[in-house]
């Protein structure tokens, strides 16, 4: 399989090299998104993610296909965690594997940028005394 698409409750970051390794790949670029302790100087105690899973998997597949074709990649990984996540926990992994390094860097950046714009996943930031759906309001 040239693409690995998953929505999981907990991300395993150890497998990503093995998943993207390919005999024709000289370069593998991976981006991990993680929970950061502060947002605008306010302390975050955690994040909570939810998804419309059937649609998210469909959109993630389209995104992977677009990248595979545009950059002639050998492999693509897109994985997102849902549920409650604590500071330093990984929440998303995207990766691209290609013959040369320019393609995998560009594709990896495209994957995370587009994921954030189109995949139906929602993030609630949990602070000490409130919680906020990110980007919901202008």
């Amino acid at each position: 399989m040239n693409k690995i698409i998953e929505i999981v409750s907990s991300l395993d970051t150890n497998q990503v090299y093995a998943e993207l390794s390919h005999p024709n790949s000289g370069g593998i670029c991976v981006f991990f998104g993680a929970v950061r302790e502060f947002t605008n100087n306010e302390q975050v105690t955690g994040l909570e993610f939810e998804t419309y899973e059937a649609m998210a998997l469909k959109e993630m597949n389209k995104l992977a296909d677009t990248a595979l074709e545009k950059w002639g990649l050998n492999k693509v990984v897109i994985k997102h965690a849902i549920g409650k996540k604590e500071v330093q926990e990984p929440v998303v992994v995207v990766g691209a594997s290609s013959a040369h390094r320019s393609a995998c860097f560009e594709a990896c950046r495209f994957l995370i940028d587009t994921l954030k714009e189109t995949i139906p996943i929602w993030k609630k930031e949990i602070f000490k005394n409130k919680s906020v759906w990110v980007s919901a309001h202008p």
Binding site: G33, F49, E50, T51, Y52, A54, M55, A56, K58, H80, V91, V92, I112, L115, K116, E117, T118, I119, P120, I121, W122, K123, K124, W133, V134, S135, A136, H137, P138
Partner: protein
Amino acid sequence: MEILFFGITKDIVGSSQVKLDFENEVPKSVGELKMKLERKYPEFSKLSSLAVAVNSEYADDNVQLQTNDEVAIIPPVSGG
């Protein structure tokens, strides 16, 4: 008409799945549905954006709705 709600829209509506009664004026298109929802839930108009998915695909305002479509309300996404 059964509608799925996610993220902040779920909180506004108070449920993730609602059978909406539009008093015999069932919306025929995505655009009409959005108008009716914004009238019913004024909080929806304050969101950065509001999209609709029909059968788990993004749908423009002019997409027509069928009785057994799976319709979902997509507030601004924020994955990653």
